[in-house]
Symmetry: C2
Subunit: 116 residues, 2 copies
């Protein structure tokens, strides 16, 4: 689980379209570094750098078996990001509910009038 | 609604803790620029820059009435980010389900043995 300050890195990692594409590809299942590099017009070294960023902020994990490194998504790494975004939406909803209640208390005839 | 390429800016905007704090504060309700600047040890100009970033990528909207600019969350701006993250988690779940089915087909006795 990421701490608040560690969300910086994860959100920054997602701000790069190549890294999002890599994560989408890994959503289909674990993949080797070289198969991940294939669709991109970039060096293996550049892809490895992206993978290190993604692993560093906990969005993927990698495992080396012999000479082959395999990568997979780390779903738990996405949880704090999803929770943070969800919390903002819930705040807005709660505010609208509260506003609705205040308006109904202040102008109790509003609803009655509408029902006519 | 943000396009795929526009998600870059929104994720990048969230990668900065001051901007996340501003969004958390705005979750409590609309606020003026000067009241948003108060809790931070930074100039109004710096806060305005953060607000411009947030408005530019559709996470907040602002309105100027006379000399006072008021900011509020734009919940729809968060939707594509939440959807993108949710899609990754769903992919992983689907893969685990598929793996489970394959294992059960390949080793049908597994479950039977476990039940003993």
């Amino acid at each position: 689980m990421l701490k608040y300050s560690e969300m910086d890195g994860a959100f920054k990692a997602l701000a790069e379209p190549t890294r999002r594409s890599i994560l989408e590809r890994l959503g289909a299942g674990p993949a080797t570094v070289s198969s991940l590099a294939e669709p991109f017009d970039m060096t293996i070294a550049a892809v490895i750098q992206h993978l290190q960023v993604l692993e560093g902020c906990g969005l993927i994990r990698t495992e080396k078996l012999g000479r082959v490194r395999t990568c997979q998504l780390e779903p738990a790494g996405f949880d704090p990001l999803a929770s943070w975004i969800e919390a903002r939406r819930m705040q807005v909803e709660r505010n609208l509910d509260r506003l609705g209640r205040v308006l109904n208390e202040k102008y109790p005839s509003r609803q009655a009038k509408r029902k006519k």
